[in-house]
Symmetry: C2
Subunit: 190 residues, 2 copies
DNA sequence: ACCTGAACACCGTTCAAGT
DNA sequence: ACCTGAACACCGTTCAAGT
């Protein structure tokens, strides 16, 4: 009887589903960034997205997976915004990155504290670090001795994380970034 | 009738109270370090100390204040253990400190993620950083230009925090600490 | 496939009541 | 002062039931 079967592609509902997912991610993102992960109940996320709390569990396995989707969205935006910045002087790039990540610093802290408890978050965190290190590697001046080069990248990476996670005034932030960049110049051919 | 009033000092129960407090802190400390702060219910702490959960609230205002007491205890031990280490070469001191803090890295992450939510923890964190920075200042070689000196201390401090909070193998840890120490020597009179 | 109402298990915290 | 039994409010998650 039902002759529509062949005419209706199986992914007919794929688009609406992706839209609903995006709405949930957007709602969670706003609340996570503003209030933090733990203080935000699934309750409020659902309410903001106009659904019942348990509906979220049709789209995401649990709260951590929702956080993961939010982190991916934020990272993608950061990457897109970084594109023109990649031409700036190294110290300016660091200052920019710190200011950018600072807006989601509460989520960075959450990621660190949940690494031991969520393998998925641990994986995301590793990918994130690999990405930042790759960016820094491309920006380091001249031919550095590869032994010290890796150490330098780690130091810069950790310093940026520290600047982000502690609230440090703009002047101090800039001084620290300048010191980091200056050091690379010293280590290179001088 | 009761003539003992004058003979009984008002702090007669101070010692037992302090002991019970110490027992609770010890129980919480073991569980927090082993399982983490959030995954440890007040339930289990009380059970380990042989009391009812609500008894804890006679000694501590809430779970955060209990964490604070645990952090103070850990910090005091670290300070005592540091005493002989203070004579070592700078890089060795850093490696030692990283190894030491790593054993409680889960609590460090918890502190960072709860800074925004608990003013008391925020205060403790500030004191902790001031202390580490003071230690580093005393260890820095020669007369550094004070402008760059502060930046160096911050960078070392953040790098140590990064080494602690990410699981990094011993070789890499040492390389990073050597690089940090070498940098100070370069900045000093050479 | 998609969503809901109702419930479950757990947890931090409180409070009236005991000694 | 010190401790408990019982309860409260909240929260992540599940599940049977609807469409």
């Amino acid at each position: 009887m039902s002759v529509k079967i062949a005419a209706m592609p199986s992914n007919r509902r794929a688009q609406p589903q992706a839209e609903k997912r995006a709405e949930l991610i957007s709602a969670a993102r706003d609340l996570f960034v503003q209030d933090g992960y733990d203080p935000t109940p699934m309750n409020r996320i659902a309410q903001k997205a106009g659904v019942t709390p348990n509906t979220i569990y049709w789209y995401f396995k649990d709260k951590d997976e929702l956080l993961l989707a939010v982190l991916d969205a934020l990272l993608q935006e950061d990457m897109a915004a970084y594109d023109p910045v990649s031409q700036w002087p190294l110290a300016d790039q660091m200052v920019w990155l710190v200011g950018r990540l600072r807006q989601t610093s509460t989520l960075m802290a959450t990621v660190h504290s949940r690494i031991r408890v969520s393998p998925a978050l641990n994986e995301w965190h590793d990918r994130f670090h690999a990405l930042v290190e790759a960016l820094l590697l491309a920006q380091l001046p001249g031919p550095l001795p590869p032994a010290s080069r890796d150490a330098e990248i780690r130091i810069i990476c950790f310093a940026i994380e520290g600047l982000v996670s502690h609230q440090i005034d703009p002047v101090t932030t800039r001084q620290t970034c300048e010191a980091l960049a200056a050091r690379c110049l010293v280590l290179a051919g001088r």
